[in-house]
Symmetry: C2
């Protein structure tokens, strides 16, 4: 999506990465660079570069005389956007979507509170614009347009928080929102109450009301959790 398979080494990654994250090679499996190079019909140098990248993601470990062994899931760099994309495209997509939604629920209210304190005038304006865009596309099967503004809204909140760790979760949130709209629920127009909440969050941030912004955002994320039946009602 964002990163097409650039170069031969990229193409290899695009195949091996999803295979590993999908669990096709169970933890402890041993691969040999030469064999892989043959299988993908690339030179050893290219294959080595691909393995190095997988190693930097902690998906595999390369050791002399033994080979390239697949690491257990618990050691993967699950925050790597590439890894997230691979997993979202694979078998444990539902599980991954749940994990990420729980993460969102922890992060976004805190980000909104910070945004209320730190947002610049421009950021407040953008936020309001996004919220209005959501309202404008909330009726009559304009889900695509709605999604664009929804994603932009949440990205804006994360950016306005002023915390780089929060800001960098914008892509993750975007994937989750896109995934939800495309494949899961949401066949009809979005919940009007949710739309209203977004508008109110924008207002609270503009007003500098951190507590209110946090609380309203929490209501939004609670809704997201409920959609996935994560929250006990």
């Amino acid at each position: 999506m964002t990163t097409p398979g650039r170069g031969l080494h990229g193409h290899v990654l695009e195949t091996l990465g999803p295979a590993i994250t999908a669990g096709e090679y169970p933890p402890g499996s041993v691969l040999r660079t030469d064999e892989l190079a043959q299988r993908f019909d690339v030179s050893r140098s290219v294959m080595r570069e691909a393995v190095r990248v997988l190693e930097s993601m902690h998906l595999v470990e390369s050791r002399r005389r033994v080979g390239v062994t697949v690491r257990p899931k618990s050691e993967w760099n699950v925050y790597d956007p590439q890894v997230i994309r691979w997993r979202l495209a694979g078998a444990d997509r539902p599980h991954q979507l749940r994990s990420l939604t729980v993460l969102r629920s922890a992060i976004e209210p805190a980000a909104a509170a910070l945004a209320a304190k730190n947002a610049t005038a421009e950021q407040c304006a953008e936020l309001t614009e996004c919220a209005l865009g959501m309202v404008a596309h909330s009726r009559g099967h304009q889900l695509a347009g709605y999604l664009v503004h929804d994603v932009a809204f949440h990205r804006a909140i994360l950016n306005a928080s002023g915390n780089e760790m929060f800001a960098r979760l914008g892509d993750v949130v975007a994937e989750v929102l896109a995934g939800r709209t495309h494949h899961e629920v949401m066949f009809e127009d979005p919940d009007p109450a949710a739309v209203t909440l977004h508008v109110q969050v924008a207002e609270a941030v503009r007003a500098g009301d951190a507590a209110r912004a946090e609380h309203l955002t929490r209501e939004i994320t609670v809704g997201a959790l409920q959609e996935l039946d994560i929250l006990a009602p």
Copy 2:
């Protein structure tokens, strides 16, 4: 610390990575693979592998005919443990420590709430053990021993949450706690109130009281924020 410079390519990374994350090469700077290979006295293959890893961290972008260009900070994979380690070791350590502490404050209370619901008997036992270990080392300049149990405690909470995204922040929290104890504040025994809070969190998790576990953990993280003068009192 966790990853010593394994192999030539690792050694190159250990030098280039910190240099880039420290801002020695401003965004847009252009490096050439051949020149770097000469500078580090390694072959092009080794250098290429190192560049590939930096590329997978989104620290640089490699393009034909132009070279290896350094990307702006806003695009870095700031959740990569390696990147975090490099930045913590460099000039913007204070800034990084603040970002991460804010992140902790958002995550840990949520993790504690989940832990209260999901923790197994073993995990509860471990939690209690860690808390007691903290108590045992809380007086008489046993900061090292205290830290070990403190780190283990927070790791246990994150693991017990049952959410893999939370669990994988254990290393980050460990670095933050270690950093705080080693270089910043904390020349004397830890705050007794904080120690008590940890014990109470363990109790709340054991009792399955999510709201209480969350609230108590928030008090702990608020303390961490105050230590860094992030929170307005």
